[in-house]
C-alpha cells in the first residue's frame, strides 16, 4: 500500500518540512511509493501526481526541501462539495486512490484544507473504505483549534519580530516626526500582528501600537493615540492587521475610495489598511508617514525561519503518518504544550470535525486595556516558537531551494505501480 500526500491553502516557510516529515516517516515504514498530489486535491482530480520516492532520493534534497518556502507540490483552494449533493467527485477520487493502491492520505493545510480530510474520511466511513485520512496542520495565521499553535506561525512571527526591529532602527535615523505603519496578514485572527510585540527588548524600543482584528477599530481614536504618542517620541512604529474592522464590521482597508480595488474578475483586493491609515495620519498630523506591507514576504521568508517551527512542522508530518499506520483516520495532528519554560510539547491526534472551517482568535485577555499592546501572557506563549535558526544553504551568495517541475508532472511520466 502506498501513501498520497498533498499541500493545500496558502503557503508557509515550513510547509515543505511537513512534506519531508511525511515522506521520511512513510519511507522508514517501508512504503513502496510516496505520491505527491500536484496542486492538491484539485490537481489530483486532473491526474497530476508525482512519485516523491523518485525525486527526494538523497539526504541533501531533504535538507533543501526544508529550506524551500512555498508549497513544493503546489497548492490549491478547492472545496469538495457535500457528498449528499454530488457523490461523483468522491467516486472519482476513491477510484483513483484504489488504482494507485493508496492506503494513507495525508493533507497538509489549514482550516479550509481540513474540510477536505473531514469530508473524505466521512465518505470513507460511509462506503466502508479502509483508506485512512489524516490532516497535517499548517498556516501562518495560527488560527486552528485543537492545537496550541500551527506550524508556519513560528517562522512568520520570527520574521515579523526581526524586521520590526530593523524597521524601528531605520525609522529613528533622522530623529524627526515620523509615523511608520506596518501591515501584517491575518484577516480575522491577529496572531501575526501580535508577533510585532516580540520586537521589544533591551536593544529595541519595540513597536508603539499593535492593532488586532479582534478589537473594533476607530480611525479617529487611532489618530488621537498617535498624536499623544508623538508628544513623547518622534518616531512611532505601528503594527496593524490587514483585517482591522470598524465596530459596524466594515474593513478599514475598504474605507478608501480607491475604485481600482476590483480587478477584471471582480475580485476585491483587501490590502491597503496601512496605506489608508498612513494617509489619514498624514492629513491630520504634522508628521511624515510611511506604510509598509509585509505582503507575502512574511509567509515565504524561509531564509529566516524558526528552527523550533521547522522541527515541529517536520514532526507533525511524521506523527500523521504514524497515527495513520496505527489506525487513525479523520483526525489532524495537534500540538499540545506541556510547559512554557522549559518549552515542551507533545503531538496528539484530534478529531478533524473540531478543526475544519473554524478560526481561533487571539484571547482578549492577552491584549492590554488600551488595546495598543500585548500582555506578558502572549509573549510567554509566542517566544518559544521563534527560537533558534535553521541555517540557509547559501550558494553563490543566494539561498538554495529545490524546485519541482510541476508543469511537466503527470501520471504518464510517473506511472504508479500497484503493489
Amino acid at each position: 500500500m502506498n501513501v498520497l500526500v498533498g499541500q493545500s491553502g496558502g503557503p508557509t516557510s515550513v510547509i515543505n518540512a511537513s512534506l519531508a516529515g511525511v515522506f521520511q516517516a512513510a519511507q522508514r515504514r517501508g512504503i513502496p511509493h510516496v505520491y505527491g498530489m500536484v496542486n492538491g486535491i484539485a490537481g489530483f482530480l486532473e491526474g497530476r501526481t508525482v512519485d516523491l520516492s523518485a525525486i527526494l532520493d538523497n539526504s541533501l534534497e531533504i535538507e533543501l526541501l526544508k529550506r524551500t518556502p512555498s508549497s513544493f507540490l503546489g497548492s490549491c483552494r478547492f472545496k469538495l462539495p457535500n457528498a449528499a449533493d454530488d457523490e461523483t467527485v468522491y467516486q472519482r477520487i476513491f477510484q483513483k486512490l484504489t488504482e494507485m493502491d493508496i492506503g494513507f492520505f495525508l493533507y497538509i493545510g489549514g482550516n479550509d484544507s481540513m474540510d477536505t480530510i473531514l469530508k473524505l474520511s466521512d465518505y470513507a466511513a460511509a462506503v466502508k473504505s479502509p483508506i485512512r485520512f489524516m490532516g497535517v496542520p499548517k498556516t501562518i495565521d495560527n488560527d486552528l483549534f485543537e492545537t496550541d499553535h500551527t506550524p508556519g506561525y513560528g517562522s512568520a512571527a520570527k520574521y515579523i519580530a526581526v524586521v520590526m526591529k530593523e524597521i524601528v532602527r531605520d525609522a529613528t535615523v533622522y530623529g524627526n516626526h515620523y509615523v511608520t505603519i506596518v501591515e501584517t496578514m491575518g484577516r480575522n485572527a491577529g496572531w501575526l500582528t501580535a508577533a510585532a510585540a516580540l520586537a521589544r527588548g533591551d536593544d529595541c524600543e519595540g513597536v508603539d501600537m499593535i492593532c488586532l482584528p479582534e478589537i473594533p477599530f476607530n480611525v479617529e481614536h487611532f489618530i488621537e493615540k498617535v498624536a499623544k504618542m508623538q508628544k513623547k517620541r518622534a518616531s512611532i512604529v505601528i503594527a496593524v492587521s490587514e483585517g482591522v474592522k470598524l465596530a459596524d464590521g466594515r474593513y478599514v482597508c475598504l474605507l478608501s475610495d480607491d475604485e481600482r480595488r476590483v480587478d477584471a474578475f471582480g475580485h476585491t483586493n483587501l490590502t491597503g489598511t496601512a496605506r489608508y491609515l498612513a494617509n489619514r495620519v498624514a492629513h491630520a498630523l504634522p508628521t511624515k508617514t510611511r506604510c509598509i506591507e509585509l505582503s507575502t514576504l512574511q509567509r515565504c521568508a524561509a531564509h529566516l525561519s524558526s528552527r523550533v517551527d521547522i522541527t515541529e512542522a517536520y514532526q507533525v508530518g511524521g506523527a500523521a503518518v504514524k497515527a495513520a499506520f496505527e489506525g487513525h483516520t479523520g483526525e489532524m495532528i495537534g500540538i499540545r504544550r506541556i510547559s512554557n519554560d522549559p518549552y515542551q510539547y507533545v503531538t496528539e491526534a484530534v478529531d478533524v470535525h473540531r478543526v475544519a472551517n473554524l478560526e481561533k482568535n487571539v484571547p482578549l485577555a492577552w491584549i492590554n486595556g488600551e488595546h495598543t499592546d500585548m500582555l506578558p501572557a502572549f509573549l510567554q506563549y509566542a517566544r518559544p516558537l521563534i527560537q533558534a535558526e535553521l541555517s540557509p544553504i547559501f550558494i553563490d551568495g543566494l539561498v538554495r531551494h529545490t524546485v519541482l517541475d510541476r508543469d511537466n508532472a503527470d501520471l504518464s511520466d510517473n506511472p504508479p505501480v500497484k503493489q
Copy 2:
C-alpha cells in the same frame, strides 16, 4: 588631535561597519578621542556629539555595531550653504572643531553628503585650516562616481535577489494566472532593480521583467509584454524601480489620481509605481495581480547582509582614516576593481569634487534590447558583491543590535577633553 565622524543621508545595512572601520583605524593610531556627530552635521551644529571611545569599548560591541542596520549615530539631510553666501555657519563649525581639537573629519554618506566634505575642505583651504576632511562612500543606490560600487549596495542587492527567489516560489504556488510587481528603491539609477536579475539560477526561473528608470517607460507596451509573457507562463514576477518615468519625464507613480499623496507638509509621496501598474494590469488582463513594495526593508535587512559588503564598508572607513593621516583632504575613498574572477579590488582616494552631487546610472549596454532583462556584464559586475554572509548574532530568537541613546547625547554628558 581627535577624530570626528558622522553619518549622513539614507541609512544602509552596513553603514555602521564603516563607522567601526573609522573608529578602530583611529584608535589603532593612538587617537585619544573619536567623537561621533549625532544626526550628522546638523546635530553637530546643535552641539550633539558623543565620545565613541567611551561607548565602543569592547570587541563584542564592535561586532554588534557591524550587524546593526541604520545609522548608529543618527543621520541628517542637511546641505551647507555656499561659503560665499553665508560664512557664519562655517565659522561656527570650525570654531567647534578647534574647541574639540579635531584634526580629522570623516563623513560617511552618498553624493549629497559628499557635498559637505567638498564645501568644508574648500573652506579649510581658503582659511588655511590644517583640519583634514575625508568622505566615506555609502549608499544602497550605488550611484556614486569614482568608485566601482558603493558599500551598502551589495547587501541591498543580496536582499533583493534572495527575496525575489522567495517571492517567485510563493507566486507559483497555485499555478494560476498571476502577475506580481515588486517595487525597489532607486529614484534615478536602476542598480537596485537590476539586482533582481541575480535571482535566476538552476533552482529559480528568475524574474520575468526588469524595468529600470534609465529606460523611458510606456504603460501600454508594459501591459502588452505582460500579456505576451503570460501565454508562456502563468505566474509572472516583475521588478520595477520606484523611479520609472514616461518619455515625457513624468513619474509613473504620479499617474495615479490618488490625491492623498500630498501630506500635511505638502510633501509628495513618490511610492506607488508597483501599485499603479498592478491596477492597470488587473483592469487590462484576465489575471490576478499583487504589488509588493520592498520599502525600507531593502536598506535595513542587516540580518541578510553580504559579507563582502560588510568587509568593504569596514575597509573604506579605515582607508579614509589612513588617507587623512597621510595628508589627504577633500577626497573620498573609492573602490577600484582589479578583476571580476577572482574578485579583487583596491581602495584609493579620489577627488570629492568628481563625486559630490552627481549620479551614476546603470550603463545602457548592460540592458537587453527588449529592455526586460540585464545582460551577463551586469551579473559579472554584481555577483561578487553579494557573496558570503556575516552571521547575525541571535539572542532569544531575534537578531541582536546595539543602540545609542541619541536623545540623551550632548556635549555636557560627554565633555571633550582638549589634548
